[in-house]
């Protein structure tokens, strides 16, 4: 009976300790930004594996998402004789919602899982403790450049996603289905607001960049140093990132609308 109560207390304390530890580690990593800024080589390497390697999947999916939006939007809007508004619909849904969210989901699957597996294997093969033995702080050497590169990459990738998507919608709507070119662009420019819509999308993508990269890095850093532990952490990265992104998206939209 008492064991049972003790168990509840233990898991509650564990929960708060984990949360506190995560926040402290996050702060340490962010503090380390000031040191790694003078070592651009590390950041460039991470930008390459996180950003450049995710570019292809982001551009291709952005293109297809834009084309689907063009097709679906056209079929719905034509019933109201409002197919000229296709550009507005495609651009707003991409810039405000789909761009940041879908990019973050793909980013978590493509770059986040790789980050977790990489750091987790470093831990499993005792490379992290090796670094500590050589008096190199793994938070500065391993975590900080990755988090930094992730935060830079996400907004750039989301912007590419939206831009390519708008072009995909243009190809389907204007070239294939015959919406007027001028109407597509001019209605878009009249209704899409820079301060409201574009900036909102960029803020969202920066937040998602911080969250997804941090979840990936943290899961890798704290995983069990076994092959099973690494595989579990990798799965958790993708699941947690997806949940966090979708939940935060609602919150951010509600806050900024």
């Amino acid at each position: 009976m008492f064991d049972w109560f003790a168990q509840i207390g233990k898991s509650a304390i564990d929960f708060w300790a984990r949360l506190g530890g995560e926040v402290l580690l996050f702060l340490q990593t962010v503090m380390a930004f000031s040191k790694i800024i003078f070592r651009p080589g590390l950041i460039i390497q991470q930008l390459f594996s996180i950003g450049v390697r995710s570019m292809l999947i982001i551009i291709v999916s952005g293109f297809f998402v834009g084309m689907v939006l063009g097709l679906q939007g056209y079929n719905t809007l034509i019933d109201f004789g409002a197919e000229e508004s296709l550009g507005v619909m495609v651009a707003l849904s991409l810039v405000r919602e789909l761009g940041p969210v879908v990019t973050a989901l793909l980013f978590a699957g493509r770059a986040g899982s790789a980050l977790t597996a990489e750091i987790g294997l470093m831990k499993a093969t005792e490379q992290l403790s090796g670094l500590e033995m050589m008096a190199v702080n793994p938070v500065e050497r391993i975590l900080a450049p990755r988090l930094f590169a992730g935060i830079i990459s996400m907004p750039l990738l989301a912007a590419m996603f939206s831009a390519v998507g708008v072009f995909g919608g243009y190809l389907v709507g204007v070239d294939l289905l015959g919406v007027d070119t001028g109407a597509y662009w001019s209605q878009m420019q009249a209704r899409v607001d820079f301060d409201q819509d574009i900036v909102q999308g960029v803020i969202k993508s920066v937040v998602f960049g911080v969250v997804t990269t941090w979840i990936a890095v943290y899961e890798g850093y704290t995983c069990l140093p076994t092959s099973e532990g690494v595989s579990r952490s990798t799965t958790r990265t993708v699941v947690y990132s997806a949940l966090a992104v979708l939940g935060l998206d609602f919150l951010l939209t509600a806050l900024m609308l």
Partner: protein
């Protein structure tokens, strides 16, 4: 080319592409260039009813957008809507006796303010108030007027 060189170049291309995409979104997709910068002056007009007009709605002369609505508030004394709008300084010679009306773009389109230029020699300046205004048409009122006039005819 050495390995690290390829790395640096590809990262450079990645960042450049990302920034280019942001620029495309800013310039091509949104309206960042129009009316955000440049000289302008603001004028106000009082309306009985502005239903449907919003901040950032267009202000136009002869169908050409020359400015934007910046604020809409209610005058606490007269219960009229006070609409403040900024006009691009290029259109600085609008006569003082011009009238403004609230119109709808198309049947279901957005509301906008149209300025009908008058003939006075003086021109509008910063802070001018336009006296001649025509309120927004409320569809329900129009329909009810029409229905009542129909029933009146039957009674006769």
């Amino acid at each position: 080319m050495s390995n690290s060189r390829i790395l640096e170049v590809s990262v450079g291309i990645f960042v450049a592409l990302g920034i280019a995409a942001l620029l495309v979104l800013a310039v091509n997709v949104s309206n960042v260039s129009s009316f955000s910068a440049g000289e302008h002056y603001s004028i106000t007009a009082n309306f009985d009813n502005v239903s449907g007009l919003k901040e950032r709605s267009a202000v136009s002369i002869a169908g050409v957008t020359v400015g934007r609505v910046t604020s809409i508030v209610v005058d606490p004394d007269s219960y009229e809507a006070v609409v403040k709008m900024t006009i691009d300084a290029r259109f600085s010679d609008v006569p003082v006796d011009s009238s403004v009306g609230i119109y709808t773009a198309g049947l279901l389109g957005e509301k906008y303010i149209g300025i009908e230029p008058g003939g006075a020699p003086d021109v509008l300046e910063e802070g001018s108030v336009i006296r001649l205004t025509q309120s927004s048409i409320v569809l329900e009122k129009l329909i009810s007027q029409f229905l009542f006039s129909q029933s009146d005819k039957k009674d006769e």
